[in-house]
Symmetry: C2
Subunit: 332 residues, 2 copies
């Protein structure tokens, strides 16, 4: 059997393999002239993408493992929807497991997915497993990091993340420019890249305006709803209460606004809330003006899906390191 | 090798295998005297539950597939947490896949999980796959149905569900007793047992009070948030608008209250909302009084976990058909 690869098509058409992939998967730019030429060559060589893909890796299972730290967080579910929609025509299915913001559990789940012989793994890491993750990626099962980079980030693994530092910096600056100096911060885990980068973004803005950071105004959470509840409870025990809350993910923000509501406080009259990430439920508030960094989870998922198609079907090597820039919005 | 089973222990102790299982798994009631006797026999026979379990089914993978129609619905996530917590000490892990309220997708996912050689499947069915489900359950991979029964329910498959008819009946009766006759109903899928049973419960209450059912006040949805939004939009186009909304699951309720809020309507001043299932976000409303059927998803998950331990480890045959009774609550 003489199998036609995209390399053959690239050679015959006089373009790069990346261009062939873009044309055949209908993604990214190519001129009409190039598109026509590539498709003509593909037809003439009787190119069959799925058959080729299977022949390249005959033990393919057509399943992709997805490890996310909190399976009920709508942010990760939107990313998954984007991945699934993009892979739909390729007959790939997603298997979800929960990392539970726990290094040991994530480690176990990486091994379980390898035992299940998934073709690739999409991972929002809870931190601490750099070595195993690199090992799996090098063994031929491609990993795509989403939302969170490795602690020792070398850029060798595909990743689609946000510019967290910039987003948190802009968000904090907005609060300072509105006159807030007493800001209660609800941190995510500092062991996770998003948690650390958002905290650094906040520090950068505070530094720029020569504002000191008071430790009693920093609550170190772990990205879960209950942290938002606890943080608010703590802040309101202080003598000098914050005039603004800065929360570093959507679920902690949800916990915070639920708790503020329970305490009879109104946003933004009694307290201003700023959030890295949207909380759909905030629309139920009387005055739903929560300053926030808008995230694009569906678009991130689509990008991840395209990377997977390149790695698994088009046999195009990586890594791709894509960074989404923050969009600041003052209304939910 | 002479393998000790719980049957041997039951014989030796003079109690049933179910009692032995209860004692050894520390679940359910047994007198102190029986507990001591069973444990003594187990020790004397050198009973090793995990080793035995493995010997009974040597190709065990220690994974359980979970198919849920909407992976982002907090109700199913609470059930999953209950399962996971109960199975924690047994070293079992959950693999989640999404059925997407779609018969074809669910069918495909059942096959994918079988290919992954899961030891058991927990399923909230989207409907229409009775035959395949029975086939898998009879093939030795136990299925536990959660939330939803088969369309042709014979009770032969383990199930943990709610008394949906009674819950919806009580909820509707409450609305009628408050003086509402013009009730806008947001239905789930009638192909799914919960959707059908809740609708019948509503019909029963309407009949009891000799109230006719107007088709323009029935919106047939599919248990997703967007159905709640659409239903409200439709109801408010009617000449005779409903004075109360009756929504048959938590996510449709969320969509409905988001849409009511957008239209500037206040609950319960402008319109009363009743919901089968809680919506945590309703706490953010000015007056968060949503009449609702309280569900016990975590407790359902614990029950499912115990059934799985019986089937996979204690080798106790089923089926168990557990029904949770509704709790009506007038405040979220």
């Amino acid at each position: 059997m003489n199998k036609v690869t995209i390399k053959d098509i690239a050679k015959e058409s006089g373009v790069s393999t990346a261009t062939v992939s873009r044309v055949l998967s209908n993604t990214g730019y190519a001129s009409d002239e190039i598109k026509e030429r590539v498709r003509k060559v593909a037809r003439s060589l009787n190119y069959q993408p799925n058959a080729i893909a299977r022949s390249l890796k005959i033990d393919r299972t057509n399943t992709i493992g997805v490890i996310i730290p909190d399976i009920s967080n709508p942010y990760f579910m939107r990313i998954s929807r984007g991945i699934e929609d993009t892979l739909q025509n390729e007959n790939y299915y997603l298997l979800f497991v929960s990392g539970d913001e726990n290094q040991k559990k994530e480690r176990k789940m990486l091994r379980v997915l390898m035992e299940k012989r998934v073709d690739a793994i999409v991972l929002a890491t809870s931190g601490g497993n750099d070595e195993l993750i690199n090992q799996i990626n090098n063994s031929g099962v491609p990993i795509v990091l989403i939302d969170r980079k490795l602690q020792n980030d070398t850029g060798e693994i595909d990743s689609v993340v946000e510019n967290n530092l910039e987003g948190a910096y802009q968000l904090t600056k907005q609060l300072i420019q509105q006159g807030h100096t007493n800001i209660g911060v609800i941190n995510g885990s500092l062991k996770v890249s998003t948690g650390m980068e958002r905290y650094i973004g906040y520090q950068k803005a505070m530094d720029e305006y020569c504002l000191g950071i008071e430790s009693e105004l920093i609550f170190n959470g772990n990205f879960i709803e209950d942290d938002g509840v606890k943080a608010i409870t703590n802040f309101y025990k202080l003598d000098r209460k914050p005039t603004a809350i800065l929360s570093f993910n959507n679920t902690m923000t949800f916990g915070a606004i639920i708790q503020l509501r329970k305490m009879g406080l109104t946003i933004p009259k009694d307290i201003v809330v700023a959030s890295y990430g949207e909380t759909e439920a905030a629309q139920l508030l009387e005055s739903p003006s929560i300053l926030h960094v808008k995230q694009l989870p569906y678009e991130i998922g689509v990008k991840v899906g395209k990377i997977l198609i390149d790695r698994l079907i088009n046999n195009i090597k990586g890594p791709t390191n894509q960074i989404f820039n923050p969009i600041i919005d003052i209304s939910e």
